[in-house]
Symmetry: D3
Subunit: 215 residues, 6 copies
Amino acid sequence: MRLLYINPNSTVSMTEGVVAVARAALPEAEVTGWTNHDGPPAIQGPEDGAAAVAGVLALLPAARHEGVDCIVIACFDDTGLAEIRGAAHCPVIGIGQAAFHMAVLLGHRFSVVTTLAVSVPVIAGNVASYGFGGHCAKVRASGLRVLEVDEGSPATIARLAEEIALAESQDGIGAAVLGCAGMASLLPVLRDRTGLVLVDGVAASARFARALVGP
Amino acid sequence: MRLLYINPNSTVSMTEGVVAVARAALPEAEVTGWTNHDGPPAIQGPEDGAAAVAGVLALLPAARHEGVDCIVIACFDDTGLAEIRGAAHCPVIGIGQAAFHMAVLLGHRFSVVTTLAVSVPVIAGNVASYGFGGHCAKVRASGLRVLEVDEGSPATIARLAEEIALAESQDGIGAAVLGCAGMASLLPVLRDRTGLVLVDGVAASARFARALVGP
Amino acid sequence: MRLLYINPNSTVSMTEGVVAVARAALPEAEVTGWTNHDGPPAIQGPEDGAAAVAGVLALLPAARHEGVDCIVIACFDDTGLAEIRGAAHCPVIGIGQAAFHMAVLLGHRFSVVTTLAVSVPVIAGNVASYGFGGHCAKVRASGLRVLEVDEGSPATIARLAEEIALAESQDGIGAAVLGCAGMASLLPVLRDRTGLVLVDGVAASARFARALVGP
Amino acid sequence: MRLLYINPNSTVSMTEGVVAVARAALPEAEVTGWTNHDGPPAIQGPEDGAAAVAGVLALLPAARHEGVDCIVIACFDDTGLAEIRGAAHCPVIGIGQAAFHMAVLLGHRFSVVTTLAVSVPVIAGNVASYGFGGHCAKVRASGLRVLEVDEGSPATIARLAEEIALAESQDGIGAAVLGCAGMASLLPVLRDRTGLVLVDGVAASARFARALVGP
Amino acid sequence: MRLLYINPNSTVSMTEGVVAVARAALPEAEVTGWTNHDGPPAIQGPEDGAAAVAGVLALLPAARHEGVDCIVIACFDDTGLAEIRGAAHCPVIGIGQAAFHMAVLLGHRFSVVTTLAVSVPVIAGNVASYGFGGHCAKVRASGLRVLEVDEGSPATIARLAEEIALAESQDGIGAAVLGCAGMASLLPVLRDRTGLVLVDGVAASARFARALVGP
Amino acid sequence: MRLLYINPNSTVSMTEGVVAVARAALPEAEVTGWTNHDGPPAIQGPEDGAAAVAGVLALLPAARHEGVDCIVIACFDDTGLAEIRGAAHCPVIGIGQAAFHMAVLLGHRFSVVTTLAVSVPVIAGNVASYGFGGHCAKVRASGLRVLEVDEGSPATIARLAEEIALAESQDGIGAAVLGCAGMASLLPVLRDRTGLVLVDGVAASARFARALVGP
């Protein structure tokens, strides 16, 4: 199976991190990652998201030409998901969408821990419009910028672990969803720190891609 | 106020029809219409919608340069609304969205009469994700193609009137929403034929644009 | 266009304040304000709201006789909206309803900042029954009484600005809705203080009234 | 327990029929019925409902003076429920509301069979705003006027039985809710004809009134 | 009327406490309580709930043989409600379900105060799936274990009163629902302490049982 | 991966059919199927479902002992899903749940075609409580009994194809979900007949099981 992650932002290191996590989650697939060089360096809020859509759409003909079997939008905001899905020759899922479905299929009510407050309305709006409002307790901002998250310093990890612990103690949940593509590689250390079930949309999307496409 | 209608499809006559209706609804505004020449000739289903997004996004810098005060996406599917809104320098509304808000503010439960069945899931999904599921009885396909609707032959008018009458007798509604930009100019004749309150998203969007932007 | 604001409470200064804001928002309309002298001095909670309905309904024949084109219920609780709408000869909207539609059409997820805690369930119930549950983060009580708000002392402004700032930092929103008719005249100063997009239902209702009625 | 049914319409025979059904459902209560002589002869659509609210509200002081323990609004539209509840000194329920809660507590997904199509949006709106959208399959109009239903001729019974049978065969339900106060006395004969579980809001409200008030 | 409370957990003192509250709420009924000796000593989280279902189902033939008229699942999680209802010969309600319906019929938006955080997702999930998401502000954990609640020490009462007071001051509600069968007997003292309307599902279920079954 | 299908009904041929479809969908897994010999021969309506839960729960210790990695409830009603999930040592999904998630992740609005009308409220209730009400157009009964479906005669296939064609022409959908475990093996022939995207919960659950469990 040829699985393509399209990173809507232009930060190549984020694409590489996403591909590494996806390959670990689905070793038998041929996972590739494309960076949207026309996008903003990070997607923080709806303006950044919108600025990324055209560049992502422009990559679809090449994806079709390469015979890609499934496309994943590698931004937790699922930016442009409906439009990209409509334009693509194959199934398209978003890492936010994948994370929500994974938490629900595992039987958990969840909170999301994301980066800046500017992303909270986008994510909360997605949760509501997908129909998962009854499964989601809260969308929480850590106050960390996307690129800070991507760097993964000890201070960043501590801040995320702290917010996850707050979610666990205050929100009445069974799992926390990591609300940024850049958090995917931090899942093991955060799970060790917090002891809570954590769901990452990058690994989830890889696994769902195989579920959708087979074999 | 400078009000810009962007027609996501490439059919110039539809743009012209939309602009005429908008100007009649809001004579004091400076209404212009741009056609997305990179789009499909009509938007029938999600693939067509997606194929239109990049072209619409590409028009935004010019819209900003022209000092446009509000942008309306002139397709009832509200294609790319979230993304275009995020990228724009001014408020952006869709004609589907505008029609639903108008029906609700007028106090009516409504059904939608649209073109082909392929558009029903797109519209029904929008209604649900906007939160208007409790206000909408049914989304009905007339079986007419978008360009047939745009031509507005007597047979087309008869078919639409028939479907509106079915909605009135079967759906328990107070208003019918015309579910295609091309139906806007047919509203007077359809109202005469059916006697039901009809809501058209083109006129609604012009009026809401002024409400959002003022004065 | 003849636009009538009916203040369900008996405080004439609030009616005057509402009319002033509405006229500023819609200078070309003939805006009048009627006070329900049979209502309580302020509407704080469902009992006050109910005590006001009969008096408002009793004003409808005169409104019809005056040839009013649109009626606005000038209480953020939208008290009696469904019933008044049913009895009126023209469209009827509420300032709460108008504020929610305005925030949503502008593309914002929002929180509401209102007066006393006793009004929170009324407003939250309205938000849910209108279908805007997925767009509204939280309804917040400032602890201020309606008539305190109407006086608009520096302490009142400081308290409101503080609660708006809390909403901005904690709720993940793009706009705050001012949840009391008496806050309408404070919008400019509160916007200067907070920097957040603020939505006031009095101005919103004036603009929507014109959108509904035209031209 | 003193239980008061307020019939929002001015047809005394309907009040008497409602009281008879309520007394049969709750023999130990002191059930009285008041007719709103200021209301329309029947409530068919939102205008009629609104025209009835002021008259009902005007009866509340007398109800308080009589020491009534619970008030039931004896119209399936639950007209003015929120406002009357706010103004009353005791719990207030509507017969529509009571019927929906009864069907749900009995574990049934249901359809409603009501009178004219003009009442369908009111009832469907109530169902949605109460949160029962997921429990209700359809609101069906029988095409019968309220006063025809109240007369209960053989033709009326046949028409209702026919619509209930359609609901059973097409809607995938476990119960049908009788969507008009005037159908309450027809429940036994309709149950014999159809074999389906039928829920009547008059009897349901009497029983819930006792549940709310005790002992 | 023969009314059977089935306590899904194996703690006999809880069964006895529940029966005492139900008898006080419905003195004319013949109330019995059965303990599921195959269940866990307390139901704290979904695992405990699931471990209790088979034992409860095994009691149904005896309930039928005894001619029971209505069964109440005496755990606030309503564990196994759908399945037990399907298998039973008579109506089945849960005390959580009953409490939510009671608060709604009384006209209140509510918060729930329960025991441990592990029960919050179960209760919040029930609220959402029943359709009461728009009526419920928050599900709050007191941090008390079920058996601590059952003992009802002064410290327990103080903790519950404190959490109820927080709900009243922060959640914008008209009533608090006591979210554990073991809190039923504490209702009078908690009401005296807090002054808020409190709803207990044990008494509510007894009263609704009579409403469902009659006479 | 050890994947266990538990058939809640006692018809061994249905278990065998389900296992065959699951193995074809996930050849690398070790798929086994257990039949609930204490269940009814087919699950048609809530009573049958409830009668099956205890027997399914009784199989869980053996499943744990066998080291099963994921359990699938092989009945489209997802009978007992919440309870079985709570009691199990590993993830548990239902074939109805899996089918809905699959349709949604593929981007389709869907209708369900099931067996008898008695199953419609169960399935529609599940759809609503899972949050997929906005994605599902209609739950349709074919009028076929479960065991008729399992036999798969030409007349049965013709009836199912007819109902799927009705769903396609009337419901405005992108996919039809096969609403019975016994339909899984008929998917290829039905797809050939109808040309519509069809989703079967047995194959979907096998693929999701791998997504949840890995590797």
